[in-house]
Amino acid sequence: MANTLRSYLTCIRNTLEAAMCLQNFPCQEVERHNKPEVELQTSAELLLNPVLICRNEAEKCLIETSVNSLRISIKVKQADELENILTKKFLRFLSMRAEAFQVLRRKPVQGYDISFLITNYHCEEMHKHKLIDFIVQFMEDIDKEISELKLSVNTRGRLVATEFLKQFV
């Protein structure tokens, strides 16, 4: 199980290293505008082929690149009802703080749980390899956080139940 996680993350890391070659590109359609081309999707010559990396049916990662911007969308594993609401709650919590994260997109792309938007400006401000480290660490952290939240709910449930039943003994 841990093996697939390692190779999944390594694959994503390698793809990002290849994809993160962004440069400034002023908008072709409107004068004096500078927009992330991956969001507009208007000029085919500015977009690269999107890459979809699947760990299994439930987890996948879509990487779409363009000349000046890169969009990474992640779908996180949700095995049962509890994991479902925990994931939704946590990722909504993060998305609402997208301003603080800079590279996070406020709304995930349709069909995914969370999305990043990295532009050439981010690459100029931050080291490329550290940015990729951050994305990969983010993905690991989400998984860890969801399973820890689930564990804490189960532990608390067990404690609550035991204390209640002990009163009758």
Partner: protein, 314 residues
């Protein structure tokens, strides 16, 4: 605090304060609200300094419960039994409240232990009033009998417009709680907690605890219950109480535990959500720190001998 406590802290606080200086009269009119729509009103007047006027409002009962004079069955008797010569019930109760009673604090026993026990009992007026019908049923269970003229299925109020059900029999009493929550997240968390009850009883060596079951659909015991009582988004919890769970001092504890069961689960669901928020905030902080590490370090400006500084171009 894991378990909900029966004596209200608000009442205990006021009682302790007043008792320190009972002869000196004060004018007091305090209100308080507790979980599940229970309200208290305490009044003292300078004309009769040792008399405390205590009014209590209880949650609105759904149609299937039996209320007499605005109070659950047996509540008046339970109050008189619990407080003895101290209490005088006022009829009608004050506006907006279900019961008003005058308590003569000068008649408290002088023995320290008995005095404290009675004060705690006064602060537990909620358990006395709301738990009265349940107490009657469980007292009969102590002697392995059933109360005369009681229905097969008894509905008792524990939350506004919601009730739980008892099936009293001679050798056991089955208690069924339909669990309802407004929020979707609350419902999922509560369902996971309630399933733990079944697990905990099995695995934690609590064989003497009441057998407990959870099911998403109404259990067979609820045959004949009104329809709106049969929908519950977090399932139905069933406890089977045996005589050994209500012998001696355990009776009061069992009455309180069962009366406040839904509030107990609700309280822990909310605590859980609060804890998750704290965790998520901490995780966000650590992720932002990781992102900050991605930024190159700001070049430190160096100083010349004359105190002028300059930035070095890399």
């Amino acid at each position: 605090m894991i378990l909900l406590q029966s004596p209200s802290r608000f009442l205990i606080q006021i009682l302790m304060n007043r008792l320190q200086n009972l002869e000196k009269g004060v004018e007091m009119d305090c209100h308080s609200v507790e979980f599940d729509d229970v309200r208290y009103r305490i009044q003292f007047s300078t004309k009769e300094p040792q008399i405390m006027v205590l009014s209590m409002a209880i949650p609105a009962p759904p149609p299937e419960t039996v209320f007499i004079g605005g109070l659950p069955l047996g509540a008046i008797e339970a109050i008189k039994l619990a407080y003895g010569g101290l209490v005088q019930i006022l009829d009608p109760p004050k506006d907006g409240y279900n019961v008003t009673m005058k308590l003569n604090l000068s008649k408290l026993p002088t023995d320290e232990e008995k005095r404290h026990a009675l004060l705690v009992k006064i602060a537990s007026v909620r358990e006395v009033v709301l738990g009265a019908p349940l107490r009657v049923v469980l007292k009969h269970l102590q002697s392995r009998t059933v109360a005369p003229d009681i229905d097969r299925l008894v509905a008792l109020v524990h939350r506004p417009k919601e009730s739980f059900f008892l099936l009293p029999q001679a050798e056991k009493v089955t208690v069924v709680f339909p669990m309802r929550f407004k929020d979707n997240i609350d419902t999922v968390l509560a369902t996971s907690f309630l399933q733990e009850f079944v697990e905990a009883r099995r695995t934690a060596g609590l064989n003497n605890a009441p057998p407990c079951l959870w099911s998403p659909s109404p259990p067979l015991e609820l045959r004949g219950a009104p329809n709106q009582a049969l929908t519950a988004n977090a399932g139905f919890v069933t406890f089977v109480i045996f005589p050994r769970h209500v012998e001696g001092r355990k009776l009061d504890r069992t009455v309180w535990s069962l009366s406040s069961f839904h509030a107990y689960v609700s309280y822990h669901v909310k605590c859980s959500e609060g804890f998750m928020h704290t965790r998520m905030r901490r995780r966000v902080e650590s992720l932002i720190e990781a992102l900050d590490r991605a930024k190159p370090e700001v070049e430190k400006s160096k100083k010349t001998a004359h105190g002028r500084s300059f930035k070095r171009h890399a």
